[in-house]
Symmetry: C2
Subunit: 481 residues, 2 copies
């Protein structure tokens, strides 16, 4: 494979005074002499020095921002500040079209653009410094996830995207169909005849791979699913996507405590990986974050810088607090007593809102917090009933600035307890006959959790709108590109 | 994390004569004395020796195939053949329910089952030796893919699953909708009012991430997408799925030759990785494959064993042959002249069928083959037109026993050539305005390819039905689980 600018910048000693050829895009062209060349491998540019006496004029005058270039020249140590090396161009070739007039109507023109405008041109924004950094970091996060699990003997299981089940209850589902919507086949009694649809039944896009991956756990022990999930909720916020990527590990023989240990190790592994492998991108994102904070009123500013925040998260043991303790803390807090919460905490059993989670993490403990043992009535049917008969072995990991980043539980492995719970909560046992089978034949204690990839990428990059950390966001009324 | 059986078997010296605790499922219980315990980490079982004098009778009589057990006992070197170590049980605990009567109606009962029956109980088949091996190998293949790309400075890009485009032309698409199908909103003129659907337009499930990932290539240089793709084709064969996983790299500045090099390196990397990391599973799959071949009439048997085939593929340089040469070879072959092909080759321009591909790979060259420079009329609009004006820079990698495993091309990066081609082929340029932009602003030569994950897993595991290498297959009239 060809040498990238990243490789060149990190290991150039042996090439000094040699001729090399390099390709990329011009990010800037100053004084008709200095080209900042970028090839996407790193946020750093390679400086190209062109001499108008050497390079034909018709080429020089066609070089502009976004031009694609192939440069051959001598690699030398740079005299100028800001770069270690540069190339004295001997030959410059323009590789392809660059319609500069049209370009100047896009975000590729050389000036600043708002994040909103960049979002509208999602197909071009990966060509900016900011978004190339965000997506290189997103890559590093994804790779770290696979590497963590592989090293810990987990097996990657692709759970189905199209599902016939709609009992999972995690949210509103999109329908998937092969019907001609102008001509939907009906039965004699006027009902839709799903027998004639592609799958011979009503199908939806998955909201979670958990129930499927639990069946794999029974055979392979440690498994995880990592794929797209979907919610058809009409939420137009900076935290919701209709299509997002979710990681869901599931581990045989783990109890709630082992599950919390796994979640903590997992998050710290990923953040450490990014700190070690994305130094230049994080430095740039850290500067952007600092500038953004500075523009805010002082009371709204983040207490920590981006990199500082990441380093703090990996250095501390997450604070583990039961739901019951958390309710005590919240109920007795000045904030609650003075009516500062939009949703005052008045009794045990209340569902926690984002404001409560952030109070615990950012004000009370000043640390990532793991809450556990929630009231059974506010949690899903598959969570394991504790001995007190009123809480379940659920856990949420709460992060500064972002709230819940992981939600999980030890699962109810006792067939009869699960069956009773489903009946009370109105979950259709017949539809989930295959899930019930996992509790019938050698059932084992097990636990797992879910992590929304984009939430974690938001946290790691310091971006604030979830639409800015996925290449092509899908939201209500928006499926462009 | 707890010690797995895989770890224990590979590193037990320091634990000999120590007491250890291990959990898993009974795969067999012989002579009321020997339990073969499996925890999914490896195909190998750990032998547990129980002494009816030590273990309460009510526990002993409840141990059967599929029981979940927690065993504490002394680790000793085994005297028996077939295992290096065993555990002399001091304590045996049954972890969860095992309804043996119901179990005996499932594939978990201790006898042989056909692949068809196993498929009908996909939620249980990962508990068999065969399918746990298949899915551990599938994991290794996926991980090797991510690792190969990460090591070579590619960035993982999640292209959208729900798409508003339907111009990609790779196949029939599934519709995605939030409409109540009993009450679809219509305009005054009786047409469906897609403005009122979730995304405000008609949307489908993606058939390929290529066009989207090309936009990312323009910013990040080397990228790949790896996610689920969908085809709503009514193909009930052993080679087709409605939902499958596809890997699509795209590389700036690569021409067709570099693209072929990448494909060859990539496939060899993955196969080498699996040979090195899945030894026990491959050994077992190799034996299954051999037994299957033996049951066939001699003329239909594979020439090579499974492992032998994998080793041969990585040891040879793939044979590179132009389409035009291939047509010559086929046209002049004995098979063609004697009318042995179902589709006789009579002229240049013919599309190659599976029988022709397999003739080239298995009979003529006895090697993986890369065909390139296909007639433009039988290939997609985005492939680069060669100087001859009649072929495009397309490539297919053909493997023994399986035919096409990779298809790719250098892309048409010249704006006007692409535009003309789209007009001739009837591809809607307006719908793909964002794709056209990649050719307007600093367009570069680039190339990429697509690999169907399940095809490769079929090849590596020696399985013959694609439904047996994905956990929960989606096919016409089937979206169970």
């Amino acid at each position: 494979m060809k040498t990238t600018i990243k490789e060149l910048l990190s290991d150039y000693k042996k090439l000094i005074h040699h001729d090399i050829t390099i390709q990329g895009w011009a990010r800037a062209f100053r004084s008709n002499r200095f080209i900042a060349l970028n090839d996407g491998s790193t946020i750093e540019n390679l400086q190209i020095v062109v001499d108008f006496e050497n390079i034909p004029e018709d080429i020089l005058k066609n070089i502009s921002v976004a031009s694609s270039l192939k440069i051959t020249g001598e690699l030398v140590e740079s005299q100028g500040a800001g770069q270690s090396i540069e190339i004295i161009a001997k030959k410059v070739e323009i590789l392809g079209d660059n319609f500069t007039e049209e370009r100047d109507k896009t975000i590729l023109q050389p000036k600043r653009h708002t994040l909103e405008i960049l979002r509208e041109q999602a197909h071009l924004r990966m060509r900016t410094n900011l978004f190339s950094s965000v997506f290189r970091v997103r890559h590093a996060v994804s790779f770290a996830i696979h590497q963590f699990f592989n090293q810990n003997q987990f097996f990657y299981i692709n759970t189905p995207i199209i599902t016939g089940a709609d009992a999972e209850g995690a949210g509103e589902m999109f329908g998937v169909t092969n019907f001609d919507l102008n001509n939907i086949p009906k039965n004699d009694d006027g009902e839709i005849n799903y027998d004639e649809d592609f799958f011979g039944k009503k199908t939806n896009l998955t909201v979670s791979g958990q129930l499927s991956v639990e069946t794999a756990m029974m055979g392979l022990g440690r498994v995880y699913t990592f794929g797209p999930t979907f919610r058809a909720e009409n939420s137009n916020t900076t935290r919701h996507l209709a299509e997002f990527w979710m990681v869901e590990p599931e581990v045989a023989f783990n109890n709630l405590e082992a599950n919390i240990d796994l979640a903590e190790d997992f998050l710290k592994y990923i953040i450490t990986y990014v700190l070690e492998n994305c130094k230049e991108d994080l430095k740039s994102l850290d500067e952007r974050f600092a500038a953004e904070q500075k523009a805010k009123p002082e009371k709204d500013r983040a207490k920590e810088g981006l990199i500082e925040k990441l380093e703090n998260v990996i250095s501390k043991r997450f604070k583990r607090v039961s739901y019951t303790e958390a309710i005590d803390i919240l109920m007795n807090s000045k904030e609650n007593k003075k009516g500062k919460f939009k949703f005052p905490i008045t009794e045990w059993g209340a569902d926690l809102q984002s404001e409560h989670e952030r109070f615990l993490v950012e004000k009370h403990f000043e640390s990532p917090v793991v809450l556990f043992d929630y009231p059974k009535d506010i949690k899903a049917f598959y969570m394991r009933l504790n001995e007190d008969g009123k809480t379940v072995a659920a856990m949420d990991v709460l992060f500064p600035g972002i709230g819940e980043i992981i939600g999980g539980s030890q699962r109810e492995e006792r067939y009869q307890v699960l069956k009773d719970k489903m009946e009370i909560m109105g979950v259709d046992e017949e539809e989930l006959w295959w899930y019930m089978d996992t509790r019938k034949f050698g059932s084992v204690p097990h636990a797992g959790f879910g992590l929304g990839l984009e939430r974690l990428v938001l946290f790691v990059t310091g971006m604030s709108n979830i639409r800015d950390v996925i290449p092509f966001p899908r939201t209500p009324k928006n499926a462009e590109f």
